[in-house]
Protein backbone atom coordinates (compact mmCIF):
# COMPACT_ATOMS: atom_id res chain seq x y z
CA UNK A 1 0.00 0.00 0.00
CA UNK A 2 1.11 3.53 -0.68
CA UNK A 3 -0.35 6.92 -0.05
CA UNK A 4 -0.82 9.11 -3.09
CA UNK A 5 -1.65 12.80 -2.88
CA UNK A 6 -3.42 14.61 -5.71
CA UNK A 7 -3.60 18.39 -5.52
CA UNK A 8 -6.03 20.12 -7.86
CA UNK A 9 -5.87 23.89 -8.42
CA UNK A 10 -7.81 26.29 -10.64
CA UNK A 11 -5.70 27.27 -13.65
CA UNK A 12 -3.95 30.63 -13.17
CA UNK A 13 -6.15 32.37 -15.74
CA UNK A 14 -9.40 31.11 -14.16
CA UNK A 15 -11.09 33.51 -11.73
CA UNK A 16 -11.04 32.05 -8.19
CA UNK A 17 -13.64 34.02 -6.20
CA UNK A 18 -13.37 31.67 -3.22
CA UNK A 19 -9.65 32.31 -2.88
CA UNK A 20 -10.25 36.04 -3.32
CA UNK A 21 -12.86 36.01 -0.54
CA UNK A 22 -10.36 34.35 1.80
CA UNK A 23 -7.67 36.86 0.84
CA UNK A 24 -10.03 39.77 1.50
CA UNK A 25 -11.00 38.35 4.91
CA UNK A 26 -7.46 38.07 6.24
CA UNK A 27 -6.78 41.79 6.82
CA UNK A 28 -10.14 42.09 8.58
CA UNK A 29 -8.99 39.33 10.94
CA UNK A 30 -5.76 41.16 11.65
CA UNK A 31 -3.48 39.13 9.37
CA UNK A 32 -1.52 41.45 7.12
CA UNK A 33 0.96 40.69 4.38
CA UNK A 34 -0.96 38.01 2.44
CA UNK A 35 -1.30 39.39 -1.07
CA UNK A 36 -3.13 36.50 -2.78
CA UNK A 37 -4.93 33.24 -1.99
CA UNK A 38 -6.02 30.55 -4.43
CA UNK A 39 -8.21 27.69 -3.28
CA UNK A 40 -8.04 24.13 -4.61
CA UNK A 41 -8.66 20.54 -3.57
CA UNK A 42 -6.39 18.02 -1.87
CA UNK A 43 -7.06 14.27 -2.26
CA UNK A 44 -5.35 11.47 -0.32
CA UNK A 45 -5.59 8.03 -1.91
CA UNK A 46 -4.51 4.72 -0.35
CA UNK A 47 -3.49 2.59 -3.31
CA UNK A 48 -2.16 -0.92 -3.86
CA UNK A 49 1.40 -1.22 -5.11
CA UNK A 50 0.00 -2.61 -8.36
CA UNK A 51 -1.41 0.81 -9.31
CA UNK A 52 1.08 2.44 -11.65
CA UNK A 53 1.76 6.12 -12.32
CA UNK A 54 -0.07 6.03 -15.63
CA UNK A 55 -3.25 4.84 -13.91
CA UNK A 56 -2.90 7.52 -11.24
CA UNK A 57 -2.57 10.17 -13.93
CA UNK A 58 -5.75 8.89 -15.59
CA UNK A 59 -7.60 9.10 -12.27
CA UNK A 60 -6.37 12.63 -11.67
CA UNK A 61 -6.96 13.93 -15.18
CA UNK A 62 -10.16 12.07 -16.03
CA UNK A 63 -12.04 12.35 -12.75
CA UNK A 64 -10.46 14.21 -9.82
CA UNK A 65 -9.80 17.31 -11.92
CA UNK A 66 -11.48 19.00 -14.87
CA UNK A 67 -8.59 19.79 -17.25
CA UNK A 68 -10.67 22.55 -18.88
CA UNK A 69 -10.29 24.74 -15.81
CA UNK A 70 -7.97 22.94 -13.37
CA UNK A 71 -4.35 21.75 -13.11
CA UNK A 72 -3.31 18.78 -10.99
CA UNK A 73 -0.17 17.35 -9.39
CA UNK A 74 0.15 13.66 -8.39
CA UNK A 75 2.77 12.56 -5.90
CA UNK A 76 3.49 9.45 -3.86
CA UNK A 77 4.22 10.11 -0.18
CA UNK A 78 5.59 7.92 2.59
CA UNK A 79 2.76 6.62 4.71
Amino acid sequence: MARVVVDVMPKPEILDPQGQAVARALPRLGFDGVSDVRQGKHFELEVDDSVDDETLAKIAEGFLSNPVVEDFVVRRVDS
Binding site: I14, L15, P17, V68, V69
Partner: protein, 223 residues
Protein backbone atom coordinates in the same frame (compact mmCIF):
# COMPACT_ATOMS: atom_id res chain seq x y z
CA UNK B 1 -42.80 12.35 -30.17
CA UNK B 2 -41.09 10.83 -27.14
CA UNK B 3 -38.80 13.10 -25.13
CA UNK B 4 -36.86 11.64 -22.21
CA UNK B 5 -36.15 13.36 -18.89
CA UNK B 6 -33.31 11.77 -16.93
CA UNK B 7 -33.43 11.35 -13.15
CA UNK B 8 -30.11 11.12 -11.30
CA UNK B 9 -29.85 10.85 -7.51
CA UNK B 10 -30.35 14.47 -6.48
CA UNK B 11 -32.16 15.63 -9.62
CA UNK B 12 -34.89 18.12 -8.70
CA UNK B 13 -36.57 19.31 -11.88
CA UNK B 14 -37.43 16.07 -13.66
CA UNK B 15 -41.14 16.37 -12.91
CA UNK B 16 -41.35 19.99 -14.10
CA UNK B 17 -39.40 18.99 -17.21
CA UNK B 18 -41.84 16.15 -17.90
CA UNK B 19 -44.73 18.60 -17.36
CA UNK B 20 -43.20 21.03 -19.86
CA UNK B 21 -42.73 18.28 -22.46
CA UNK B 22 -46.37 17.28 -22.02
CA UNK B 23 -47.55 20.91 -22.20
CA UNK B 24 -45.76 21.27 -25.52
CA UNK B 25 -47.57 18.24 -26.90
CA UNK B 26 -44.84 15.63 -26.50
CA UNK B 27 -44.83 12.33 -24.67
CA UNK B 28 -42.61 12.62 -21.59
CA UNK B 29 -40.55 9.48 -20.90
CA UNK B 30 -38.87 9.00 -17.53
CA UNK B 31 -35.26 7.81 -17.88
CA UNK B 32 -33.31 6.41 -14.93
CA UNK B 33 -29.61 7.11 -14.32
CA UNK B 34 -28.86 3.46 -13.58
CA UNK B 35 -30.39 2.08 -16.78
CA UNK B 36 -28.29 2.12 -19.95
CA UNK B 37 -31.52 2.47 -21.94
CA UNK B 38 -33.09 5.50 -23.65
CA UNK B 39 -36.43 3.68 -24.15
CA UNK B 40 -36.73 4.70 -27.77
CA UNK B 41 -36.92 8.45 -27.19
CA UNK B 42 -36.45 11.00 -29.97
CA UNK B 43 -34.71 13.58 -27.74
CA UNK B 44 -33.31 13.74 -24.22
CA UNK B 45 -33.33 16.41 -21.51
CA UNK B 46 -31.00 16.37 -18.50
CA UNK B 47 -32.93 18.39 -15.90
CA UNK B 48 -31.56 20.56 -13.10
CA UNK B 49 -30.85 19.73 -9.49
CA UNK B 50 -27.86 18.60 -7.49
CA UNK B 51 -26.92 15.20 -8.87
CA UNK B 52 -24.75 13.32 -6.39
CA UNK B 53 -24.86 16.38 -4.13
CA UNK B 54 -22.53 18.24 -6.52
CA UNK B 55 -19.74 16.24 -4.85
CA UNK B 56 -16.31 16.59 -6.48
CA UNK B 57 -17.65 19.06 -9.09
CA UNK B 58 -21.18 19.78 -10.29
CA UNK B 59 -22.04 17.07 -12.81
CA UNK B 60 -18.72 15.22 -12.45
CA UNK B 61 -20.16 11.99 -11.06
CA UNK B 62 -23.45 11.98 -12.97
CA UNK B 63 -21.41 12.13 -16.15
CA UNK B 64 -20.36 8.49 -15.55
CA UNK B 65 -23.88 7.13 -14.85
CA UNK B 66 -24.91 4.18 -17.05
CA UNK B 67 -27.57 6.24 -18.87
CA UNK B 68 -24.95 8.80 -19.90
CA UNK B 69 -23.11 6.32 -22.10
CA UNK B 70 -26.32 6.00 -24.13
CA UNK B 71 -26.91 9.77 -24.12
CA UNK B 72 -23.38 10.45 -25.39
CA UNK B 73 -23.71 7.83 -28.16
CA UNK B 74 -27.11 9.16 -29.21
CA UNK B 75 -25.90 12.78 -29.19
CA UNK B 76 -22.99 11.87 -31.44
CA UNK B 77 -25.49 10.29 -33.85
CA UNK B 78 -27.54 13.51 -33.92
CA UNK B 79 -30.21 13.08 -31.26
CA UNK B 80 -31.22 16.45 -29.76
CA UNK B 81 -29.99 16.72 -26.16
CA UNK B 82 -30.69 19.60 -23.79
CA UNK B 83 -29.00 20.16 -20.44
CA UNK B 84 -30.67 22.58 -18.05
CA UNK B 85 -28.62 23.94 -15.11
CA UNK B 86 -27.13 20.80 -13.52
CA UNK B 87 -27.80 19.08 -16.85
CA UNK B 88 -25.67 21.73 -18.59
CA UNK B 89 -22.91 21.00 -16.07
CA UNK B 90 -23.20 17.27 -16.85
CA UNK B 91 -22.94 17.91 -20.62
CA UNK B 92 -19.77 19.98 -20.09
CA UNK B 93 -18.24 17.32 -17.84
CA UNK B 94 -19.12 14.70 -20.46
CA UNK B 95 -17.33 16.70 -23.15
CA UNK B 96 -20.47 17.12 -25.30
CA UNK B 97 -20.20 20.88 -24.73
CA UNK B 98 -17.01 22.90 -24.18
CA UNK B 99 -16.08 24.84 -21.06
CA UNK B 100 -17.13 24.40 -17.46
CA UNK B 101 -19.56 25.91 -14.95
CA UNK B 102 -17.87 27.22 -11.81
CA UNK B 103 -18.92 28.81 -8.50
CA UNK B 104 -20.86 32.07 -9.00
CA UNK B 105 -18.48 35.03 -8.94
CA UNK B 106 -20.31 36.61 -5.98
CA UNK B 107 -20.34 33.26 -4.14
CA UNK B 108 -24.08 33.52 -3.50
CA UNK B 109 -26.79 31.12 -4.59
CA UNK B 110 -28.75 33.06 -7.22
CA UNK B 111 -32.52 32.56 -7.46
CA UNK B 112 -34.49 35.10 -9.49
CA UNK B 113 -36.26 35.76 -12.76
CA UNK B 114 -33.68 36.47 -15.45
CA UNK B 115 -33.87 38.16 -18.85
CA UNK B 116 -32.09 36.36 -21.67
CA UNK B 117 -31.47 37.18 -25.30
CA UNK B 118 -31.92 34.38 -27.80
CA UNK B 119 -28.73 34.78 -29.84
CA UNK B 120 -29.19 31.73 -32.05
CA UNK B 121 -32.66 30.61 -33.13
CA UNK B 122 -31.39 27.92 -35.51
CA UNK B 123 -30.62 25.21 -32.95
CA UNK B 124 -32.88 22.20 -32.47
CA UNK B 125 -34.12 23.78 -29.23
CA UNK B 126 -34.70 27.43 -30.25
CA UNK B 127 -36.45 27.61 -33.65
CA UNK B 128 -39.72 28.83 -32.10
CA UNK B 129 -38.05 32.08 -30.98
CA UNK B 130 -37.40 35.15 -33.09
CA UNK B 131 -33.71 35.94 -33.53
CA UNK B 132 -32.70 38.39 -30.85
CA UNK B 133 -35.88 37.80 -28.82
CA UNK B 134 -35.65 38.64 -25.14
CA UNK B 135 -37.29 36.20 -22.75
CA UNK B 136 -37.64 36.01 -18.98
CA UNK B 137 -37.32 32.70 -17.16
CA UNK B 138 -36.09 31.70 -13.67
CA UNK B 139 -32.45 31.10 -12.82
CA UNK B 140 -31.38 29.26 -9.65
CA UNK B 141 -27.84 28.04 -9.21
CA UNK B 142 -24.65 28.10 -7.17
CA UNK B 143 -22.26 27.03 -9.93
CA UNK B 144 -23.40 28.93 -12.99
CA UNK B 145 -20.32 30.88 -14.06
CA UNK B 146 -19.42 29.77 -17.57
CA UNK B 147 -15.64 29.51 -17.91
CA UNK B 148 -13.47 28.38 -20.80
CA UNK B 149 -10.20 29.26 -22.47
CA UNK B 150 -10.20 32.46 -24.52
CA UNK B 151 -9.79 30.41 -27.71
CA UNK B 152 -12.89 28.35 -26.84
CA UNK B 153 -14.92 31.49 -26.14
CA UNK B 154 -13.73 33.02 -29.43
CA UNK B 155 -14.73 29.85 -31.27
CA UNK B 156 -18.20 29.81 -29.67
CA UNK B 157 -18.76 33.47 -30.54
CA UNK B 158 -17.35 33.13 -34.06
CA UNK B 159 -19.50 30.12 -34.90
CA UNK B 160 -22.70 31.54 -33.43
CA UNK B 161 -22.78 28.88 -30.74
CA UNK B 162 -23.67 31.27 -27.93
CA UNK B 163 -27.38 30.44 -27.88
CA UNK B 164 -28.52 32.49 -24.87
CA UNK B 165 -26.94 35.55 -23.30
CA UNK B 166 -27.85 37.26 -20.03
CA UNK B 167 -29.27 40.76 -20.39
CA UNK B 168 -30.04 43.21 -17.61
CA UNK B 169 -27.15 42.00 -15.48
CA UNK B 170 -24.83 39.01 -15.33
CA UNK B 171 -26.03 36.84 -12.42
CA UNK B 172 -22.91 34.73 -11.98
CA UNK B 173 -19.90 36.28 -13.71
CA UNK B 174 -20.12 34.11 -16.84
CA UNK B 175 -17.63 35.02 -19.55
CA UNK B 176 -19.24 37.23 -22.23
CA UNK B 177 -22.54 36.99 -20.26
CA UNK B 178 -22.99 33.49 -21.68
CA UNK B 179 -26.13 31.73 -20.42
CA UNK B 180 -26.30 28.88 -22.92
CA UNK B 181 -24.26 27.31 -25.72
CA UNK B 182 -24.53 24.60 -28.36
CA UNK B 183 -22.32 21.99 -29.96
CA UNK B 184 -21.26 22.58 -33.60
CA UNK B 185 -24.40 20.81 -34.91
CA UNK B 186 -26.86 22.90 -32.90
CA UNK B 187 -28.51 19.73 -31.63
CA UNK B 188 -26.81 19.59 -28.21
CA UNK B 189 -27.61 22.67 -26.14
CA UNK B 190 -27.00 23.58 -22.50
CA UNK B 191 -28.28 26.56 -20.52
CA UNK B 192 -28.22 27.56 -16.87
CA UNK B 193 -31.69 29.18 -16.51
CA UNK B 194 -34.82 27.03 -16.29
CA UNK B 195 -37.29 27.14 -19.21
CA UNK B 196 -39.32 24.30 -17.64
CA UNK B 197 -40.31 26.63 -14.78
CA UNK B 198 -41.72 29.21 -17.22
CA UNK B 199 -44.33 27.44 -19.34
CA UNK B 200 -47.45 29.00 -17.79
CA UNK B 201 -47.90 32.51 -16.39
CA UNK B 202 -49.86 30.97 -13.51
CA UNK B 203 -46.76 29.30 -12.06
CA UNK B 204 -43.82 31.22 -13.56
CA UNK B 205 -42.77 34.71 -14.58
CA UNK B 206 -43.93 34.04 -18.16
CA UNK B 207 -44.58 31.22 -20.60
CA UNK B 208 -41.39 32.11 -22.47
CA UNK B 209 -39.76 28.75 -21.69
CA UNK B 210 -42.33 26.72 -23.61
CA UNK B 211 -40.68 27.59 -26.93
CA UNK B 212 -37.72 25.35 -26.06
CA UNK B 213 -39.96 22.29 -25.83
CA UNK B 214 -42.05 23.23 -28.86
CA UNK B 215 -38.87 23.76 -30.88
CA UNK B 216 -37.46 20.30 -30.26
CA UNK B 217 -40.77 18.68 -31.17
CA UNK B 218 -40.63 20.59 -34.48
CA UNK B 219 -37.05 19.45 -35.07
CA UNK B 220 -37.92 15.81 -34.47
CA UNK B 221 -40.95 16.01 -36.78
CA UNK B 222 -38.88 17.67 -39.50
CA UNK B 223 -35.89 15.34 -39.13
Amino acid sequence: MRVGAVTFPGTLDDSDTARAITAAGGEAVALWHGDADLRGVDAVILPGGFSYGDYLRAGAIARFAPVMGEVIDAARKGMPVLGICNGFQVLCEAGLLPGALLRNAELHFVCRDQWLKVENNATAWTTRYDAGAEIIIPIKNMDGRFAASQSTVDELEGEGRVVFRYVGGNPNGSLNHIAGISDPTGRVVGLMPHPEHAIDALTGPSDDGLGIFLSVLDSVVNA
